[in-house]
């Protein structure tokens, strides 16, 4: 017993160091792995408020690009308006449409804190549970997908971007219709890679990569990027498809959060799949 006390006295500084190290590392690894409570992130109320003050000052830097992006999107949506179309068939009459049911809603928000050169990059948004943001919702911008909500607080939320090690978004390569999943190598914020495509399939350069919409996080067809080149994966008969992201994450400001109104229905149905078949 006395030896034990002597040991603790001799190494008390080192033990204190170990204690602090264990605290910080356990926080780090538990937060990085899965979404948890609302502490120790910039979505925390105080830091979030301070970061949004910072954003008030710095948002002017990218004002031109932001305006252009919004204008581009307006043009695209305006083209879809019914008043732009003329009715070419004379024998049909228009009826009030109940064939379609709305599946997705979008919540607009802006990024107040971001990083792109870290190994795992997170963005802080200025919208939170008050605006209807929940953990697991998808986030995209007018040019491409951004990520998935990792944590939320009352007025802020944290996005785990696709610039992290295990983002694993389902993707679809068009026009060939192949499916795979998205990975990031941790280095280049303008390029990612798509895995899970067998080598016997021919892929055309510059074919577009979009979301598949399988897991209900993103609607189908949100752009991600373009195929740049194909690299073989060592020891596996699959391609490592290098894609160039269509969004420039360095100057990104305004995003939309996807709210899937039918997600509960889908997950409830998919729970019926036995666990071992799901992988």
């Amino acid at each position: 017993m006395r030896n034990l006390i002597a040991f603790f006295q001799r190494f008390r500084i080192f033990l204190y160091y170990l204690l602090l190290q264990v605290i910080s590392l356990s926080l780090y690894f538990s937060y990085i792995a899965y979404p948890k409570g609302q502490f120790l992130t910039s979505s925390w109320a105080v830091t979030g408020t301070m970061l949004s003050w910072q954003n008030e000052f710095t948002k002017f830097i990218h004002l031109d690009e932001t305006n252009e992006a919004l204008q581009r999107e307006n043009v695209r949506l305006r083209k879809l308006q019914l008043t732009n179309f003329i009715n070419v068939s004379t024998d049909l009459i228009k009826v009030k449409d109940t064939v379609y049911k709305q599946q997705y809603e979008y919540i607009p928000g802006s990024i107040i804190n971001s990083s792109i050169t870290r190994k795992n990059n997170y963005f802080t948004l200025n919208i939170g549970t008050t605006q209807g943001v929940e953990i697991g919702m998808g986030v995209f911008s007018d040019k491409g997908i951004v990520g998935v909500i990792h944590m939320t607080s009352k007025n802020f939320s944290l996005v785990k971007t696709i610039l992290t090690e295990n983002s694993n978004v389902d993707v679809l390569i068009q026009p060939s219709g192949l499916t795979g999943y998205l990975k990031w190598n941790g280095k280049d914020p303008t390029r990612g890679s798509v895995l899970g495509i067998s080598q016997d399939i021919k892929l055309v350069k510059n074919s577009t990569v979009v979301t598949r919409g399988g897991s209900g996080i993103f609607p189908k067809g949100i752009p991600i990027g373009k195929v740049e080149k194909l690299l073989p994966v060592e020891g596996k008969p699959v391609w490592d498809v290098i894609i160039k992201f269509s969004e420039d994450y360095r100057s990104l400001q305004h995003v939309y959060v996807v709210k899937n109104l039918l997600l509960k229905e889908q997950t409830k149905l998919e729970e019926a799949i036995p666990k071992e078949e799901k992988k």
């Binding site: 500084i13 080192f14 204190y16 160091y17 602090l20 190290q21 605290i23 910080s24 590392l25 356990s26 926080l27 780090y28 937060y31 990085i32 120790l40 992130t41 910039s42 925390w44 830091t47 301070m50 970061l51 910072q54 710095t58 804190n113 990083s115 792109i116 050169t117 870290r118 190994k119 795992n120 997170y122 802080t124 944290l158 941790g186 280095k187 360095r250």
Partner: protein, 171 residues
């Protein structure tokens, strides 16, 4: 009054510089500019190791709150706080440190400062980047990041000290 006020101003000044300005600068190649390690290095010589460790943890934790790193900075800062007394002891002058002097570049001279702060910064950075990548096949990459970021951080910290720090009056 001055004795409390100056460290507080340095503390908040460097912290704000780190989270609002240096965190936003991302020059690419994985370079991360860090000025807050300077705060740990310039704590007075006569502080106990436990105090240094606690302050390091607090500083790292506060940087974590603003940069979505969940404890990575705290871990690196605590490691640096642990290495500091060992290194300072090893590189002490023959008759010990003058209590009236501060461990900054103006008081202790460029050679001593580059040696101690440079090594501390290296320890801090390599701990940070290796934990961040957390894979053995990326050690070379982490090393490159460490060297590039460390060099730039060192230059920034030197500029800060020459611009804003005052030499302790000879008594």
């Amino acid at each position: 009054m001055e004795i409390i006020l100056i460290p507080l101003i340095r503390f908040f000044g460097l912290l704000l510089l780190q989270v609002f300005i240096l965190n936003a600068i991302e020059p690419g190649m994985g370079i991360y500019l860090m000025a807050y390690p300077l705060l740990i290095a310039i704590l007075p010589f006569n502080y106990k190791v436990v105090t240094v460790l606690s302050i390091s943890f607090l500083i790292g934790f506060m940087v974590d709150l603003f940069s979505n790193t969940f404890g990575l900075h705290a871990s690196a800062a605590v490691t640096m706080g642990m290495a500091r007394p060992l290194l300072y002891k090893y590189l002490a002058p023959r008759d010990g440190y003058d209590v009236l002097r501060q461990p900054n570049v103006l008081d202790m001279g460029l050679r001593w400062h580059l040696l101690t702060f440079g090594s501390l910064l290296f320890i801090h950075h390599i701990w940070f980047f290796i934990l961040e990548s957390f894979r053995l096949d990326n050690v070379a990459e982490a090393l490159i990041k460490t060297l590039l970021s460390g060099l730039l951080s060192l230059i920034i910290c030197l500029i800060i000290q020459y611009l804003f720090f005052k030499k302790e009056k000879a008594r």
